[in-house]
Amino acid sequence: MPVSLEDVDHIARLARLGLTDEERTALRGELESILGYVEQLAKLDTGGVEPTASMRDDSTPTRPDRTSNDDDAEKLVERAPDRQGTYLRVPKIIEASE
């Protein structure tokens, strides 16, 4: 499975990972080798096999609809790298195409 630098750039963008040129190059080769290794799965006949998505077979449990929050915004927001009042603050969101 050949992996191009453009592929690396595309998935790095999806994953919001900044990469240096060296990292790009190294990761391209590593991904290609790992994907080459996992190619072996393609040889395995999995026709009619159900995928396993969950280890447990029961239905997901539920909790009663009751509120339990303490309305203390401060306690969590104090961990934010930047804030304004009890808002989290982030650099301006510019939805420019990438």
């Binding site: 999806l14 909790r63 609809d65 915004a73 009042g85 009890t86 301006k92 969101i93 195409s97």
Partner: protein, 498 residues
Amino acid sequence: MSDTRDETPDYGDWEPVIGLEVHAQLLTESKLFCGCSASFGAAPNAHTCPVCMGFPGVLPVLNERALEFAIRTGIATGCTIPTRARWARKNYFYPDLPKGYQISMFDEPLAIGGGIDVETPAGTKRVRLTRIHMEEDAGKNIHDTDDAHSLVDLNRAGVPLMEIVSEPDIASAAEAADYLRTLRSLLQYLEVCDGNLEQGSFRCDANVSVRKKGDPKLGTRTEIKNINSFRNVERAIDSEIRRQIDLIESGGTVRQETRGWDADRGRTLAMRSKEDAHDYRYFPEPDLLPLEVPRERIEAIRGELPELPAARRDRFVEQYGIPDYDAGVLTARRDLADYYEAAVRTHPNPKALSNWVMGDVLRTVRERGLDEALVIRDWPVSAESLGRLVARIDDGTISGKIAKTVLEEMLASGAEPDDVIERKGLRQVTDAGAITGAVEEVLAANPDKVAEYRGGKDKLLGFFVGQIMKATGGKANPQAVNQILRARLGEPGTSSGG
């Protein structure tokens, strides 16, 4: 008015194809996967906890009531509830999405199929549903604080939503609005969503395309987001249909894209899209198990369904003897129907009360801009008070005309009808002596008219009644006036009654 239903939209030989995606906030106390309050209006980030703020290691646990509400909706819309639904993660980065993914459903939704019967001017139209699934809401980004920053409030992050996706069965903007009104009414009947468009607890995205009539192939569709009122739904969809037709007719092609509705400019605008916006990398949510709702549970929920609008309409016709149209208006909103029935319980004159609710009550609700709200809130006249008011007409205490004055006073002060009638001295005059006095006065003041009447101009009777009512401040019982007047004047064209 928003009602454009009687203008038949003319798109030439083009046929619009519209599908709607409604996001309805489920009326739970707490969020979908944590115990934070789902209510509006708290201080920024006051309704957050490690779970809905995406802290490391914490895990989601499903809200029982949210699940029940979504199933209830699925059943009420005739959907199939599959034996297994599965939660999925929808992955994308945005500051209002604290985990970097939204817990939603993808290829195994909660409910599939079903449909909604929509009353349109052309008759009943069946709009099929593709699916209903559950998901968590995102928080809110605030962009206009300063040039360098955006602010994030995660109070809404994790609030339970239900996404109801229709098939592209809708053929006009007006029909889209009818569908939304019907759906909202249904959700309100089911008590699963308050249907408040302004607060965003009932939101709509529209997928719109056009094709030549008779063409079996669908055109390229655009998705319109951010539509926040019924009026705007119609305007936005109509504008988008016309934009697409103009575009194609002038040789262009429609691009598959997301567009926003600009209400001020009255048109849809392409939203600058992130190039990777559609690679959401859905996969099964490993922090939750699949959803397997036992058949017995589904049947139990089915058994507890409230009376739905269509059934209630039929019952109103049958039980109250009111016309089907009236029953349709009264049952279109659960709050209105409840109000009407409460009034009828107080005073069993369903026809008169139907006229009052459809007339004065609805008019005032509209005038006060309350028609987007779920309940007749801020409406100071209780159903019981309205019933008592109509009872006073029926027992002859006041006339229908005076009743309108009483209602206005009730609206202004919140007072009971009897108090208003007494305080303002609006009790109807039925005493023959008093009325005879007034009749004599009026006839004495208009001898020429009396002569004309007796000469055969019987239309003048109305003139005399009016004058007498005026003289009594409107309080004279019209029937008594009529009777005494006729007796005094005799039949027109004869010399005397007899």
